[in-house]
Amino acid sequence: MEPSLLPRSQFDNLIRALEDDGYRVFGPTARAGAVVFDEIHGADELPRGYQSEQVPGRYRLEHNGHDRLFDFVHGHESLKRFTFAAEERLWTITHNGQVKFNADLPDGKPTAVIGARACDIAGMKVQDRTFIEGDYAAYTDPYYGIRRRSLFVVAVNCATCASTCFCSSMGTGPRVSNSFDIALTELGDEFMVETGSPAGESLVKRLHLKPARPEHEQKVVQQIEAVAKSQTRSIDNFGIYELLFGNLDHPRWDDVAARCLSCANCVMVCPTCFCHREGEVAAMDGESSQHVRQWDACFTMEHGSTHGARLRPQVKQRYRQWLTHKLGSWWKQFGTSGCVGCGRCITWCPTGIDLTEEAAAIRANPGARA
């Protein structure tokens, strides 16, 4: 389907069409000094006029009074919260007389998310390799699978980026290229609308939009190229598994450990981190119990513990676990980097640790030993 144009003043029509199709519509909203996804019913709930300042260890949302809806780049949340719930019940047992196991699968209610960025979509595709049966996974996680299949993605091509962004170097952005239903690019006071799926096409057709002209596509390309060019951070992925696993005793691990609080913020904001812990919530009357899971992080002491023995007691071991996995062994496990270049872990690190710098420091001085 050829690209078309949606005037910003008619953005509500898109939301309404999604609602008419039975979707719960989520979009970015400005709240408490940050952008978070929330259920929305109109374009007036979007973060119009906001921009974000993002540097290592700092995030500030600023209202600039302009009319643009998506110049805030991204908040701490990615698409992950829609596909891989931060906490969910997996199954319940009841045992009045006999123990019975009942799966508590998600309801699969169609959910549309407006405002997914290229890095968010890339992150979701990385997680697909963990949770969906295929070349890299023997089993589909049905909880993830149901949420994933129920998702309608209205992507937004970034018109600006944060100083911490490096999607260009990871080959994941700034332009969304697949795995979306509709992609929007904000130009002046209208959006160029592209479709990426039959569902997206049928919805856009009902909006009766004017076709875009070649100069619109040109503007989109220019805008995206400018975003890519403005990115200053990068990761050199050449031979990075061998580099990192060949430098497990590098002094840089001690150096970063002196700055790392082991707080796991980086894991919580990462669109690809998939670790989760399972736990039991038993009813007080002992008649039933819920088996739940929550996001977990390799920065916790428990994550690396085996029957009580702490295998990674030092912060340096836990940071090393995270970085060598994220940038290194992920390639071996899933045929891709575990990093999509969204830069969230840099922005949201309380001490501003920058994984691009950490990887570069090891590359600059390979073979050094602590």
Partner: protein, 282 residues
């Protein structure tokens, strides 16, 4: 079982406790039988694989399967009470219902070992995964050569599998040897490390397949000693242990470099884990 794993690999199936046999204080073997006939018929496993067992209201733990794969209807799990879940599990009574998911992971290289001697190295409190090796070979005695079991402990009291070892020792062409780092009155084994037992073995005993389970420094020391003695690395296998909560490579806890212990292991050719075993903190 495979059908259930395909639909929802997280959901356990009900398994009845057929028997609870005390092996030693705090160690029991639970004989479990899936209650659903179709699930029971579909269930097969390899020696060395494990199940996730669930105790109602308390939680799930990975437990290796210790019975013979030729009789998959009754599945044995030898369990030591070491934590919240296993403390309750060892007290399970005949007729109680537990949850079972599995089997997961890789098995021992029993095909590759066919026709050869087997050297089993274990350590610590006694390692259930290696029991499946000895049991499997004993049940097919003519298919395997000599079986040598070397068991290392820190102090003689840690040798809690005495009776099981005794029955192994009495089997044809099987030798059991023990080493304890500390001695005590009445200790008849060697005083020292399990690696020293290699000197006590007949030369032919180490020329087969080596299968190990126990503390990583022990497995590493033995493996490196075998390599020093010219044994090919391809003949050395280890069973690794890490926290496992899902069993299918999703929860992330058991990652060991590029390996997921739960699905790429727990049994590994030594070569695959050798490099990381030399590094602390993985």
């Amino acid at each position: 079982m495979s059908a259930q794993l395909k639909v929802n690999p997280y959901l356990p199936q009900a398994a009845e406790v057929v028997d609870n046999i005390e092996e030693a204080p705090g160690i029991v073997t639970l004989k479990l039988r899936l209650t659903d006939a179709d699930a029971r018929a579909a269930y097969t496993f390899q020696p060395g694989q494990f199940n996730m067992l669930y105790l109602a209201n308390v939680g799930e733990v990975p437990i290796s399967i210790s019975s013979d794969p030729s009789e998959p209807e009754i599945i044995d799990h030898t369990i030591r009470a070491v934590g919240r879940v296993t403390e309750g599990m060892v007290r399970a009574q005949r007729g109680d219902i537990l949850g079972l998911r599995g089997p997961f992971g890789t098995g021992w290289p029993m095909e590759k070992a066919r026709g050869r001697n087997i050297l089993v190295i274990t350590g610590g409190i006694g390692c259930a995964p290696t029991a499946s090796v000895v049991g499997y070979a004993h049940a097919r005695r003519d298919q395997y050569g000599k079986i040598s079991v070397c068991h290392g402990v820190r102090k003689p009291d840690d040798l809690i599998y005495g009776e099981r070892f005794q029955s192994w020792c009495n089997a044809p062409d099987t030798v059991c040897m023990f080493a304890s780092q500390e001695s005590a009155p009445g200790w008849t084994g060697r005083t020292g490390l399990v690696t020293q037992l290699l000197d006590d073995l007949e030369p032919g005993a180490v020329e087969g397949m080596t299968m190990m389970c126990g503390p990583e420094p022990m497995m590493r020391a033995v493996a490196e000693e075998l390599l020093k003695r010219g044994r090919p690395i391809d003949d050395i296998y280890v069973s690794m242990e890490r926290s496992m909560q899902c069993g299918i490579g999703h929860c992330g806890h058991c990652q060991y470099g590029k390996e997921f212990i739960c699905k790429d292991g727990p049994v590994f050719p030594y070569e695959r884990v050798r490099r990381l075993m030399a590094v602390k903190g993985f």
